[in-house]
């Protein structure tokens, strides 16, 4: 079983390496973190001077958002691979092999989720701003990794093609801003509740809910979205 997964993972790595756009995606969170590390303090000073608003007071939130970033980008890569496979008929073909469609899907989503988790842990130090603690970092990286199936399945279930996929991604990228909702008052704050990204921020920053509750709700919303989107994706492939 593990051998099967590793062979599928190796094939995915090879395909990503042969696509310049997909090859770039895994590094985007690190590039963004590096850029923010340099520009955010400069921007904060400028805005502070002009308006009195201190962006750097929200550095912890920036750290949460940047920790969630790999999940978004690795999910994009997985989603575009799924989209290609769906259109080429490869997804359906796996159903006629010993791997089965579920095994194929689990291996692909598992690979990119694990990679997103590792990248989520690594990207915070690249940003170098804000502090969210070890437990908060682990939890945020885990909920960030849970975005991989969400983004990938959403793309493969709803996008008719890659161009449409890019449009959908633009809309979905707003989800990484869901953590901002923790600073809003009810009932507007509730807009963030259905999304794991919101609970990642609550988990890391503990503003409105205890971390344990945030973790449980984050996992629950992640699983729920994955189940719903996986069912939609299966119908699309059939």
């Amino acid at each position: 079983m593990r051998g099967n997964a590793m062979r599928l993972v190796a094939a995915d790595v090879r395909m990503v390496a042969r696509d310049p756009l997909l090859m770039l995606m895994p590094f985007v969170p690190f590039l963004a973190a590096g850029a923010l590390r340099f520009f955010l303090p400069l921007l904060s000073a400028f805005v502070d001077k002009a308006t009195g608003f201190r962006i750097m007071e929200y550095a912890d939130l920036a750290r949460v958002v940047i920790t969630l970033f790999p999940g978004m980008f690795y999910g994009m890569v997985a989603g575009f691979l799924l989209l290609d496979d769906r259109d080429d008929g490869v997804s359906a073909y796996w159903g006629a092999t010993p791997v089965g469609r579920s095994g194929y899907l689990a291996a692909r989503l598992g690979l990119f989720s694990v990679a997103a988790f590792a990248a989520g842990l690594a990207v915070g130090p690249v940003l170098g701003l804000g502090r969210i603690g070890a437990a908060g970092t682990l939890g945020t990286a885990a909920l960030g990794a849970a975005q991989v199936p969400f983004i990938a399945l959403f793309l493969a279930a709803f996008a008719a093609n890659k161009v449409e996929g890019l449009s959908i991604l633009k809309a979905l990228s707003g989800l990484d801003m869901a953590p901002i909702a923790i600073y809003l008052s009810l009932p507007i704050r509730a807009v963030g509740w259905p999304f794991p990204q919101y609970w990642a921020a609550e988990l890391a920053l503990g503003r409105n809910a205890p971390p344990v509750v945030a973790l449980v709700l984050g996992v629950m919303t992640s699983v729920l979205w994955t189940v719903i989107l996986a069912a939609r994706y299966r119908r699309r492939v059939d």
């Binding site: 099967n4 062979r7 094939a11 090879r14 395909m15 042969r18 696509d19 290609d84 496979d85 080429d88 008929g89 490869v90 359906a92 073909y93 159903g95 006629a96 092999t97 010993p98 791997v99 089965g100 059939d238």
Partner: protein, 295 residues
């Protein structure tokens, strides 16, 4: 190897059944052709047999396993080539074959030797995205057979192939059957089915209209007669030679043929071109039975 009894299937939200109570068997070593027009129920039946569609009524047993309970062990016995070849476009032909083969237990064919036989040796290390349709069709067959399955599901295996490559594909199918593999072949192509199938079933509107060996069907629905073709004598118009069956042709019924003096006399005349039976083609039988063209 495959036993289907009273098989029925209706897609969710569909008003009518896609498959309406079909029965057939495919034995080890047999090439069974499943022929019918688009929408007749061929692909649905194949999906059921492959374990991809559940919720059917009746029974579809493959290698002693009910298809609805297909698991990894079941699928390891099966090789499939879908109508539209599907591969990882960014991987080479040989990388695709190696990847898919790696999930099957037991001995396998040498992938490069298989590609060479199918005329793809030079393309083995090229990405599949660069393959033509015909090359993908051949690669499709290579993937289906390389792990030496006991049951082969082939959908339009000669579609888009030139005659020489189509022949190679047919030879490989026949060889696998000779090794005891049960082959379930779905096609529109009556000529291909005639050339390679031991038995064929005509499926129309989800029902099997006829099922038998191609030769038996052709005899059953053909005319019991032979035609003698003769070149016209020098200086004589072709139309003057015949007896109403066409220029240079005479038709004789099977009954009493060995003692038919006119027939024997016709054979002795100069300019004999050939003798042929008046079997029906599978196309014409299909049309006669179903009133539908196989397009």
């Amino acid at each position: 190897m495959i036993t289907v009894e009273g098989l029925r299937f209706t897609y969710p939200k569909a008003r009518s059944e896609a498959v309406r109570g079909i029965d057939f068997k495919v034995s080890p070593g047999e090439v069974f052709g499943f022929l019918g027009p688009s929408g007749a129920g061929k692909s649905t039946t194949q999906k059921i047999l492959l374990g991809s569609l559940r919720g059917y009524a009746g029974s579809a047993m493959v290698a002693g396993v009910e298809a609805a309970r297909a698991d990894a062990g079941y699928r390891a016995l099966v090789g499939a080539a879908f109508e539209f070849p599907c591969f990882y476009q960014k991987l080479t032909g040989i990388e695709n074959l190696s990847l898919f083969a790696s999930f099957y237990p037991g001995p396998k064919d040498d992938a490069r030797a298989l590609l060479e036989r199918l005329g793809l040796a030079d393309a083995a290390d090229r990405r599949v995205a660069e393959y033509s349709k015909g090359m993908k069709v051949r690669l499709n067959l290579a993937r289906a057979v390389q792990h030496r399955p006991r049951i082969l599901f082939l959908d339009e295996p000669t579609s888009g192939l030139d005659p020489a490559n189509a022949r190679i594909v047919r030879d490989i199918v026949r060889e696998r059957a000779a090794d005891g593999v049960a082959v379930f072949l779905t096609t529109h192509d009556m000529a291909a089915a005639d050339a390679v199938c031991d038995r064929v079933a005509f499926i129309v509107d989800g029902m099997i209209a006829a099922c038998d060996a191609p030769s038996a069907l052709k005899r059953r629905y053909g005319r019991r007669a032979v035609v003698v073709d003769r070149a016209p004598a020098a200086g004589v118009e072709a139309a003057a030679v015949g007896d109403g069956t066409g220029a240079g042709q005479r038709e004789f019924g099977f009954d009493g043929l060995a003692d038919n003096a006119e027939f024997l006399a016709e054979l002795r005349k100069p300019g004999l071109l050939g003798i042929r039976t008046l079997d029906s083609s599978l196309d014409s039988i299909f049309l006669a039975l179903t009133g539908k063209e196989l397009a």
